[in-house]
């Protein structure tokens, strides 16, 4: 599949049409993360218009977008930029272009659910800090949380953990493009 076709598929999955966007910039203007993004929401739409999939997939934008929806809500033409960003994130991950810290967090998060059915914040934050090599991030809050019994050492476990683990496996298989649609893995893009 060429980049052109892949982009068309991402746009279709996100239900976004590139020429709905007339580059007014309202999305970037209201985006709380725009400061830190190397490609702002309007830029994502511009790249979609000119077919520059590689720039989207290699941007930090797709990993920094919080999904807050401000851009889509304010867009005069109802362009759902975060939906496109989400599809781009899946494509980037498929191509091995994931952002390390995001991957560490999200995988630890899902592993946590798989093991216990619910999330355990202390375990998650601790696991993340170890795996991402950020030992002191947020750790200043831990004594207060322990003292006030806000977090315990005991995980929040539910009865149906096995059922949840199987659910997660089925969902992950469903998303695998090989299984779901018979499409083959898309090739690497150049930066």
């Amino acid at each position: 599949m060429t980049d052109h076709e892949t982009l068309a598929r991402l746009m279709a999955d996100a239900d976004v049409r590139q020429y709905d966007c007339y580059q007014c910039g309202k999305c970037s203007g209201g985006c709380p993360m725009a400061d830190a993004m190397d490609l702002k929401p309007r830029g994502v739409m511009r790249c979609a218009q000119i077919g520059s999939l590689g720039r989207i997939l290699n941007s930090n934008t797709i990993w920094l977008c919080t999904g807050c929806g401000a851009c889509a809500d304010r867009c005069p033409h109802d362009v759902n930029v975060p939906a496109l960003i989400e599809e781009a994130r899946y494509e980037a991950a498929r191509r091995g272009l994931g952002r390390h810290d995001s991957e560490v967090l999200n995988k630890a998060f899902v592993a946590n659910i798989k093991a216990f059915g619910r999330n355990h914040e202390m375990l998650l934050a601790g696991l993340y800090n170890v795996l991402a090599l950020k030992p002191i991030q947020d750790m200043a809050s831990v004594p207060h949380m322990l003292k006030k019994n806000l977090i315990g050492i005991k995980p929040n476990r539910i009865g149906a953990t096995r059922e949840i683990a199987e659910l997660i496996e089925r969902a992950e298989k469903w998303d695998d493009p090989m299984v779901a649609t018979g499409r083959s893995q898309t090739p690497e893009v150049k930066k």
Partner: protein, 318 residues
């Protein structure tokens, strides 16, 4: 008595202790019965859908399907904006798209028709009957308490899912807070994202989002920020010490060892307390300190409540 199927969310079991105790107290007083969904699981929050779109729908769909089977006549309610967004989205997509419903049912291994609504606490507190009951249950009145009501992004957006009419300046929480005598302020960050989703994996980039909300609330004269989500609450509160320290470091040019935040609480002159809307209601309904966990806040709330209630009244609470 009005009943809802209740999805507590993971935070209710740990960091949202004070809000959870307040929720129980308030809903008990106003005749709302929350029936906890049996064996509910994590909705996947902001992480699961980042990895897999199928998982992002299936995780919230499982407890919803369970609620539908056990309590077919009840709407589902949750007190967390992140859970609300995921549950509501799953409900919406399953209802709107047959192929998504097929996928979800296959993955969760249960039938799920998305017949009932998903609501948040602001929805059920704004119900006219609930509002009348709140009015009748209030025992104390706050004075000179300026409150910045913070709704957060996911309680209102995306509009086609939440059905929220006003995403820039919602008023539901302001109106509820005003019942207690608190004075809601006009401010600019009611629905700005606080960045909670990325405070772990992109801390450097996400910290300013919370900081700007704190600054705007103070600049608009608020004494307290009210929230309707434990994630927003934790994010705005827990990292305030760090935020204030960094701001001071920038101003004075002197750095301090970060872990000192552990022993030094945030400077009370600069910090702004954060309460959940239900905590405010609970105090106004006469809840004592033992019923709530007001001492569990990262930013102490004692001075605020003492000031707004007058000395004798607040002694009973704190």
């Amino acid at each position: 008595m009005k009943r809802y199927a209740y999805f507590p969310g993971c935070a209710s079991e740990s960091t949202a202790k004070s809000a959870t105790l307040a929720n129980e107290f308030v809903f008990g007083r106003i005749g709302i019965d929350l029936v906890e969904i049996e064996d509910w699981n994590c909705c996947g929050a902001t992480s699961a859908h980042t990895l897999s779109s199928a998982l992002g729908l299936a995780l919230p769909a499982r407890p919803l399907a369970r609620a539908e089977a056990d309590w077919p006549e009840l709407d589902v309610v949750t007190g967390c904006a992140s859970c609300y967004a995921r549950l509501k989205l799953a409900n919406h997509r399953v209802r709107a798209d047959k192929s998504e419903r097929y996928m979800v049912e296959k993955i969760i291994g249960k039938p799920y028709e998305a017949k009932r609504e998903v609501l948040n606490f602001l929805d059920i507190l704004s119900d006219p009957a609930a509002r009348a009951n709140i009015g009748a249950a209030l025992l104390r009145r706050f004075k000179n308490l300026k409150a910045a009501c913070y709704y957060g992004c996911l309680n209102v957006r995306p509009a086609e899912i939440t059905g929220a009419e006003n995403r820039e300046n919602p008023m539901a929480m302001d109106e509820i807070a005003a019942l207690t005598g608190a004075e809601p302020v006009e401010w600019g960050f009611k629905t700005e994202c606080c960045g909670a989703a990325h405070q772990n994996d992109a801390a450097l980039e996400a910290r300013p989002l919370a900081g700007r909300i704190l600054d705007n609330a103070r600049a608009c004269g608020a004494d307290v920020i009210l929230t309707a989500c434990p994630m927003c609450q934790l994010n705005l509160e827990m990292r305030q010490g760090e935020y204030i320290r960094k701001r001071e470091e920038k101003r004075t040019g002197k750095a301090r060892f970060p872990l000192l935040d552990m022993v030094l609480p945030p400077d009370p002159e600069q910090a702004i307390p954060v309460l959940s809307i239900t905590e405010l209601l609970a105090v106004a309904m006469g809840a004592g300190g033992r019923r709530l966990a007001l001492d569990a806040h990262f930013v102490p709330v004692g001075r605020l409540i003492a000031g707004a209630l007058g000395g004798r009244e607040s002694e009973a609470i704190l």
